[in-house]
């Protein structure tokens, strides 16, 4: 698995799905349209600011609230390569894995500095801060989740494992 390199955009605790993608934009499921409004409930202009491969780093309970898959979809579609958080709300967590948005649970996420450049080795769960040289480790995924991730998401997994 290839390494990810990108700049850190830092957020706090309990970032909810209304902040990630406000409900007024949920009358569409077009990924490009959703990307244009990513994080608009908390950081106006984020979608314009964010560059391809950039990384979102947050605190506890990232993605709490609604089940809207529009939230991880908008993050993925605006170019973010990975979300690192201390913990994730459960529906966001499964949505991200199901659609193939890389996420990492890291208890040291608070130590990561905004604006710094990170290099992430997803397979090893290794998060290296290229600006400071410090390395942090993410919690490893349970075996089943790793299989889903390796398959590239839930539907690709099903395509492999289920016969019509």
């Amino acid at each position: 698995m290839k390494k990810i390199r990108g700049k850190v955009h830092k957020f706090g605790n309990n970032i909810n799905t209304d902040e990630i993608i406000p409900a007024k934009f949920l009358n569409t499921s077009d990924a490009g349209e959703l990307a244009r409004h990513c994080m608009e409930g908390i950081s106006l202009g984020f979608a314009k600011k964010v560059k391809k491969h950039d990384i979102i780093v947050a605190g506890e309970n990232f993605g709490c609230g609604s089940s809207r898959e529009h939230a991880p979809l908008s993050i993925k579609a605006c170019g973010v390569s990975c979300v690192v958080a201390k913990s994730f709300a459960r529906i966001f967590y499964r949505n991200a894995i199901n659609i193939g948005l890389p996420i990492l649970e890291c208890k040291d996420s608070g130590k990561i500095v905004p604006g710094n450049k990170l290099e992430i080795n997803l397979a090893k769960g290794e998060i290296k801060d290229l600006s400071t040289g410090k390395t942090y480790f993410a919690q490893s995924f349970p075996k089943f989740m790793q299989e889903l991730i390796n398959a590239g998401g839930l539907l690709s997994y099903i395509r492999r494992h289920y016969k019509k």
Binding site: E19, A23, N61, S67, H70, R90, R94, N95, L154
Partner: protein, 424 residues
């Protein structure tokens, strides 16, 4: 081997002899729900898999409720996707304007939820159905598409926190206050990934509508599900839904074993709880209503999947009868379903609301998520019987939402500020 009710239901839906918290299972699904926001994505993915049919057309439910009546051309397109899909795949459980309502009020009322069943829904408040003793949890659109294809869902078996409620509630205090108090105690991630089992003598006496309100907000504590063991109140509710004892109420019901293992046990004496209000911007930011008398409001909303049921409307009407809504306040009332709307009309509640200066809207999720029909402007303040008060949830980013039970919301509408109903 001892199990919790949640573990027993999961066990009944897999081909194994035992389950343990933390284990991953691929469980059979009894009902799979989507709405006008989440189902269009599921349908797109389902079709991309070249699927010829759904696993069981009677176990698929589609409800257009978030943006109905259609807010604009784009939301009209979303509801049409549901309608077309229902026709194509012969899904009879398709509800929309006129025959439906808010999904989590509607499904139990339609007799679609049975104790002991396993329900998934692409809507976070799917946890509501635990009130009937079902395992029920919110998932995403991809999950929903996968279940429509396979009839199964992958789940991590959750640990359970047991919540024990004792004591007699004070006047104007009910299920909404118990759950707000609980979230205030454990926090918005206090039950992350866990099942919340509501029990104790107070719960055994608690009416079904209040149980729905409690289980509905399990997600606001990060919970995977909320659940109440079925009892006589459950059976009476089901009998009323099925218009008399029905063969459909066939499911084996489960109870937690005496030796079941809980990750934590929390106890609350409800006689000490006042009507609760969750202040901006988290459902855990809870204070007694009486402490918030200085907060002026611009809007009061009564309804939603949390508090849009008949007993909620009755509670609000009891407060509003022979009173006037403050000239500073807009009061919006949303009966949860078409049926509840009719019942409220027949029993004179709708007349009371209108006489008091309230506006009765069609059943929709609309204002709760800042979708439509009651959006807040810059710096406006609302009290709502809904479930979330995140920043900008009901409109402008600078607006504020306070969460309460229907009596507090109605009393606040009259006073023009947050009020305890006993102040009137």
């Amino acid at each position: 081997m001892s199990f919790t009710i949640t573990e027993k239901i999961l066990l009944a839906h897999i081909e194994k002899k035992s389950v343990h918290p933390g284990e991953f299972i691929n469980a059979r699904v009894d009902l799979a729900l989507g709405n006008d926001i989440t189902a269009p994505i599921a349908i797109k993915k389902f079709k991309a898999m070249a699927s010829k049919k759904v696993f069981n057309r009677k176990k698929v439910v589609l409800v257009a409720d978030h943006f109905v009546p259609n807010k604009d051309a784009q939301s009209a397109k979303q509801t049409k996707i549901l309608k077309d899909f229902s026709r194509e795949f012969k899904i009879t459980n398709h509800y929309t304007l006129g025959n439906g309502g808010i999904e989590h009020v509607l499904l139990p009322q339609q007799g679609l939820i049975l104790p002991g069943s396993l329900v998934i829904g692409a809507d976070s408040h799917t946890c509501t159905y635990g009130a009937l003793g079902a395992f029920s949890t919110g998932v995403g659109s991809t999950d929903l598409a996968a279940t429509w294809i396979t009839g199964r869902v992958w789940l991590r078996v959750p640990e359970t926190i047991k919540f024990v409620y004792t004591g007699r509630p004070r006047a104007w205090v009910g299920g909404k206050d118990f759950i707000l108090h609980t979230i205030g105690d454990i926090g918005v991630s206090g039950a992350l990934y866990k099942a919340m089992e509501f029990s104790g003598p107070t719960i055994r006496r608690l009416p079904m509508d209040d149980r729905f309100s409690m289980c509905n907000m399990a997600i606001e504590a990060g919970g995977k599900s909320g659940i109440v063991e079925p009892d006589e109140i459950t059976r009476k509710y089901l009998a009323s839904v099925f218009n008399g004892p029905s063969s459909l109420v066939r499911k084996k019901t489960f109870k937690s074993d005496k030796g079941a293992v809980y990750s934590a046990v929390k106890e609350y004496d409800v006689s000490r709880i006042e009507p609760q209000v969750a202040c901006p911007h988290l459902p855990s930011n809870v204070k007694p209503a009486g402490n918030l008398k200085k907060i002026n409001i611009d809007q009061a909303v009564i309804g939603s999947c949390t508090n849009g049921r008949m007993s909620d409307l009755k509670m609000a009407a009891k407060v509003l009868k022979n009173r006037r809504v403050s000239s500073r306040v807009r009061l919006l009332i949303f009966p949860g379903t078409q049926l509840i709307y009719r019942q409220a009309l027949r029993s004179g509640l709708i007349g009371e609301f209108i006489k008091a200066g309230g506006v009765v809207c069609p059943p929709t999720c609309g204002p709760c998520l800042g979708g439509h029909m009651g959006i807040l402007g810059e710096n406006e303040v609302a009290i709502a019987t809904t479930n979330r008060n995140f920043r900008g949830r009901m409109g402008a980013l600078s607006s504020k939402v306070y969460l309460s039970n229907p009596a507090v919301a109605a009393a606040s509408a009259v006073k023009g500020r947050i009020a305890h109903p006993e102040e009137l």
